[in-house]
């Protein structure tokens, strides 16, 4: 499974949105209906899935699906 698909799967499970809605441009709050608490849990799920730590400062910048994917790639994660 590609990195993009894994990220999409996590978001779909957490937020109950459709996979088609999870585009790189999609904003967690304005497009996918997340609130600040959902976002905290999402970051935990990414940490678990990709075995890394996301600081609060980093998490604050991850407002779109694309930002998460770019962040993970920059951390050297490909799958």
């Amino acid at each position: 499974m590609s990195l993009e698909n894994r990220v999409t799967e996590i978001i779909v499970n957490k937020l109950g949105v459709k996979a088609e809605e999870v585009t790189p441009e999609a904003h967690f709050v304005t497009d996918l209906g997340a609130d600040s608490l959902d976002q905290v849990e999402l970051m935990m799920d990414f940490e678990d899935a990709f075995d890394l730590k996301i600081s609060d400062e980093e998490a604050g910048k991850l407002q779109t699906v694309g930002a998460v994917i770019d962040f993970l790639k920059a951390k050297g994660i490909s799958v």
Binding site: N13, G16, V17, E41, M44
Partner: protein, 417 residues
């Protein structure tokens, strides 16, 4: 003091004997028990292994998977019961002024299941894995907060926490609030989801639960019976729409019954045991009758707290006798519908208030099942075995809680004047 009168215009129930008021009512009348072996957790290591579960309750069907995960089961019960009561009252298409709608819901142990699950996660994986939803899911007032969001209820909103009297207090507080003009409509009741490792274990440790009927679950709750040996825990939610009378009349609402009075006292005696002779409960009944302008001679029916513990049933019987007098106490019918739905703890008061309202409306008194041989000192007419048709006009509903809390609600059949 002249006061605004308060009537019941909608009921919502999620219980071991039904997930609508009519289903629960029919099962209560037929004496069909909702008690079974516990399946929500593995009960094999617990002394009590039976409970009243809301089997088949599917939060995902009600809220969707993502939303369901973010609320505790006690909140889910409250949301479903509230929505059903709201619709039954006719508010779905014609909602009242949101700033005049309040919510008062009680719960004894709130999100204890969430607490346990998150505690396990934190112990295994460290504090950074505690969910941001942990606190909002756990706190007992979240049912009220969530129901307010669901139904856009913007007036007073709070949670009553008095163990097994919680929803009795919620209804009493709602009655007072409508009388005082703080709101015109209040969703009042309670919910509970206590079939968890710690709650079950805790009540087992208190020796409060039935342990001798694990192989015969439907016979475990036997209020006022000689062979009773403790209460049977159950879960669910029950919510009543309380509405100021003229507000209800103006919109042509169907009135189920009138809540005419409430009495609230404390034993100031012991943390879990009732006061000698049910002294606190006696005063709660007297206060409720006085508040509702009811003469003890006009009481027809009491839906008892009737937990099926040794101490409660005999002391409550004494309390009824001393509150109403020997003659009245022996004339009236007393039943405990816990015999079929178990002890819903913080939801017990509103569950039983709902049944009491339906008894007044339909003129039928639900039975106490499993009442086969009267216990020592249990000398009243407990309506054993089968329901009884009766032209009843005034009924009391008792709720007593650990901490010495006593609540009695007084209802009257609504006859249009």
């Amino acid at each position: 003091m002249s006061h605004r009168r308060v009537v019941v215009t909608g009921l919502g129930v999620v219980s071991p004997i039904g997930v609508t008021p009519s289903e629960a009512w029919n099962n209560a009348l037929e004496g069909k028990s909702g008690i079974g072996r516990i399946t929500l957790i593995d009960p094999s290591d617990f002394t009590s292994q039976v409970a009243g579960q809301v089997n088949g309750f599917d939060p995902v069907a009600h809220f969707g998977a993502a939303e369901a995960r973010k609320s505790d089961r006690f909140t889910q019960f409250a949301r479903v019961a509230s929505l059903n009561a709201w619709n039954a009252a006719g508010f779905a298409d014609d909602p009242p002024d949101p700033e005049r709608v309040g919510v008062i819901l009680g719960s004894g142990v709130g999100g204890i299941g969430t607490f346990e699950e998150q505690m396990r996660t934190a112990m295994e994986r460290g504090p950074r894995r505690i969910s941001p939803f942990f606190v909002p899911m756990m706190i007992s007032n979240m049912a009220c907060g969530q129901v307010a969001i669901d139904l856009n209820a913007r007036a007073l909103n709070y949670c009553t926490v008095t163990a097994c009297a919680s929803s009795g207090h919620a209804l009493a507080a709602a009655l007072d609030s409508i009388r005082l003009g703080r709101a015109d409509v209040i969703l009042a009741g309670g919910s509970e989801a206590p079939i968890t490792f710690m709650a079950l274990g805790g009540f087992c440790a208190l020796k409060a639960l039935s342990t001798g009927w694990n192989d015969r679950p439907t016979r475990a709750c036997r209020p006022f019976d000689r062979d009773r040996d403790g209460f049977v825990m159950s879960e669910g939610g029950a919510v009543l729409i309380l509405e100021e009378l003229s507000h209800a009349k103006a919109r042509g609402a169907e009135i189920v019954a009138e809540l005419v009075g409430a009495g609230m006292t404390c034993d100031a005696f012991h943390i879990t045991a009732p006061a000698e002779g049910g002294e606190g409960s006696r005063r709660a009944m007297i206060n409720a009758m006085r508040d509702g302008g009811i003469d003890p001679g006009s009481v027809d029916y009491i839906n008892a707290h009737g937990t099926s513990t040794q101490l409660n049933d005999v002391n409550e019987t004494m309390a009824i006798i001393s509150a109403l007098g020997q003659e009245n106490a022996h004339r009236i019918m007393v039943s405990s519908t816990k015999s079929v739905h178990g002890h819903m703890l913080g939801a017990a008061g509103s569950m039983e208030a709902s049944i009491t309202c339906l008894a007044l409306k339909h003129g039928v008194v639900p039975p106490t099942i499993n009442h086969e041989n009267p216990g020592e000192g249990c000398v009243l007419d407990y309506v054993p075995g089968s329901a009884r048709e009766a032209d009843i006009h005034v009924a009391l509903s008792n709720s007593l809680g650990f901490g010495g809390h006593n609540v009695t609600l007084a209802f009257r059949k609504y006859t249009g004047n």
